[in-house]
């Protein structure tokens, strides 16, 4: 939009309107991030002897980070998280694209019903979805062969967790892509149709490249979400021994801080994860932008 249209005003309105958001952002986003970084550089020091002990907070340098990085448990929790992501993200992106193209295809029927059906899981919180799927997986109650297939096995557990996550996000991503498809100019598709292109050719050669930016956006969002995996494994944990209390990094942050009462170690893990997520987002965002540019040029 033309910046020239935005005039400078002596009114205090814009400042007053931005102030609450900025204040809350400072208090509840930036301050906690900074505080976590501060805590990650500290440790508790027990002092005193005969006359009773007292604990105080002393500077620890990078020792909490050294502990985090040298802990094989940290790396294996990262590995498990990535494994779920590697299974879940391609499936989510593929199915969302497939369903969106099908919804948009000529001659598709039951589109309203199936769009509503696909969207339903979005209204189900991740924890509730995990409990729901937990009963579907649990041998005693399973209607999907939980007695025969071990859904909580050492390998299957990754698919089990990924499935719950995919189920929760697929409809929303489908609707995002479908809306992008509906916004495309119809002329090209019609021209291709007149030229005798099949429905499949139109979908793959014409529609798909045009919604590539939206696809890369949902891929990036899925990746960011995957790095924050917590709800699904936490809610499935009471049902199985296959999920430990440090199964994924965020569960480790929680158990460090609240179960082991090591807030300094927890802060170091949390801050590490924060930096990694920001790095992935920035790198992913740059890649998506480059892809979009290549598409449009």
């Amino acid at each position: 939009m033309a910046v020239a249209g935005r005039r400078k005003h002596s009114s205090k309105l814009p400042v007053l309107f931005v102030a609450p958001a900025l204040l809350l952002l400072a208090l509840f986003t930036f301050a906690p991030a900074i505080y976590a970084f501060y805590l990650s550089l500290m440790k508790s020091h027990v002092s005193g002897g005969l006359l009773g002990t007292s604990t105080e907070q002393v500077f620890a340098g990078a020792s909490n980070y050294a502990n985090t990085f040298s802990d094989p448990q940290f790396w294996s929790s990262l590995e498990r998280m990535l494994l779920v992501a590697v299974i879940g993200i391609p499936v989510t992106v593929f199915l969302a694209t497939l369903f969106a193209l099908c919804l948009d295809a000529n001659g598709a029927r039951l589109t309203t019903v199936s769009r509503l059906a696909l969207f339903l899981p979005y209204a189900v919180p991740g924890v509730i979805a995990s409990l729901l799927w937990g009963f579907l997986y649990l041998p005693a109650t399973s209607p999907i062969g939980g007695g025969v297939i071990d859904y909580f096995g050492n390998r299957t557990i990754f698919f089990t967790v990924a499935n719950v996550a995919v189920w929760g996000v697929i409809g929303f991503n489908t609707v995002v892509l479908y809306t992008a498809l509906r916004a495309l100019p119809p002329d090209i598709c019609r021209a291709a149709e007149v030229d005798g292109a099949s429905e499949l050719q139109i979908a793959l050669r014409i529609k798909l490249p045009q919604i590539a930016p939206a696809i890369s956006m949902i891929s990036l969002f899925s990746l960011i979400n995957a790095l924050q995996l917590f709800n699904e494994p936490t809610a499935l944990k009471p049902l199985t021994n296959a999920i430990t209390s440090t199964w994924v990094p965020l569960m480790r942050v929680y158990s460090d801080s609240f179960v082991n009462n090591d807030i300094y170690g927890g802060a170091a893990s949390a801050f590490t994860l924060l930096v990694m997520t920001v790095a992935v987002t920035v790198a992913g965002g740059a890649a998506a932008t480059r892809l979009t540019r290549r598409q449009s040029s």
């Binding site: 958001a21 301050a31 001659g107 009963f135 100019p185 960011i224």
Partner: protein, 301 residues
């Protein structure tokens, strides 16, 4: 429904409205079957929970899983979950609503105001502020839950309604969406016209800005409502008083094995059913008001 959504106008670009699909084409069975399978995948688990809710704890383990048992057991499960632990389930439901509706409405107002100011005015620092907000989008709120707890604990503010609502009041992404929408959706000419008529900047906002931004505000409200309703980690770290729990936390607590007692699975299933149904109905019926194209359009600008 979708045609109305798109025809209402793209905020970020001008596009031709989609063609009226006047001529019904022959059924494309392949895509229709794919859609049916996808729909079933999403709906069947929720339907199964309805079947499971018709079973007593014993029937749950002894009867075939896809055959409903009896209406009587369904009724007793429902009354069981409602009366469980001094009617606390109803309290959880209400708490979820307080968090989601209260936090959702307040955060939408805050995001709408900030987005409007950043989208329609230039003032000292406005560019820097927008950069800060874009940077904040990168910091995932979930990862901040534990640090937020540690910080609030310093001030003795944990274990309260505020401790769950306050950290969720500002959503950088919502501000970003509102800014983009205000820029394109609130024309300068109309604002200028009100100004010439002697209207104050506040009147411009109330009579023009807030109304024209309504579609964006409704979308942001629904997104925020769902995000807070679904949030688990924040209440999980902040609360230890079960009468403050939202539904997610309450039901999670119910599934924890307690001292050798067999889990009351039938009650948890009834609770899961009651947690899903009202919200599913609410959101499926509100779907026409969503402007999800704001999300897919957001990256094009």
């Amino acid at each position: 429904m979708t045609s109305t959504v798109v025809v209402q106008g793209q905020p970020t670009s001008t596009r031709v409205p989609p063609p009226a699909r006047a001529a019904r084409r022959p059924v494309n069975w392949r895509v229709t079957i794919i859609l049916i399978i996808g729909g079933l995948y999403c709906v069947l688990p929720a339907l199964w929970i309805l079947i499971a809710a018709t079973k007593t704890n014993a029937q749950l383990f002894s009867t075939p899983p896809y055959v409903p048992s009896s209406l009587k057991s369904f009724g007793s499960n429902m009354s069981g979950i409602f009366s469980w632990n001094g009617h606390i389930f109803f309290r959880w439901w209400l708490n979820s609503l307080i968090y989601a509706a209260g936090g959702g409405i307040l955060s939408t107002i805050i995001a709408g105001m900030a987005g409007y100011a950043l989208g329609k005015y230039e003032f000292p620092g406005s560019r820097v502020i927008f950069r800060i907000i874009v940077a904040a989008v990168l910091l995932p709120q979930i990862l901040l839950a534990v640090p937020q707890y540690l910080l609030l604990a310093k001030f003795g503010m944990t274990n309260s309604y505020e401790s769950v609502i306050l950290p969720q009041l500002v959503s950088p992404f919502a501000i970003y969406l509102c800014k983009i929408y205000a820029e394109a959706g609130v024309p300068d000419e109309i604002m200028e016209a009100v100004r010439i008529d002697g209207g104050s900047e506040y009147r411009i906002f109330w009579s023009v800005g807030s109304r024209l931004m309504l579609p964006a505000l409704v979308t942001v409200l629904l997104l925020q409502f769902i995000a807070i309703w679904n949030n688990f980690l924040l209440p999980f770290v902040m609360l230890n008083n079960s009468s403050l729990y939202p539904l997610t936390l309450g039901l999670y607590g119910m599934i924890q094995p307690t001292g050798g007692q067999p889990n009351e699975y039938s009650l948890v299933i009834a609770g899961v059913f009651l947690a899903i149904v009202p919200l599913a109905i609410l959101f499926l019926s509100l779907q026409r008001f969503w402007r999800i194209d704001l999300l897919s359009g957001g990256i094009k600008s």
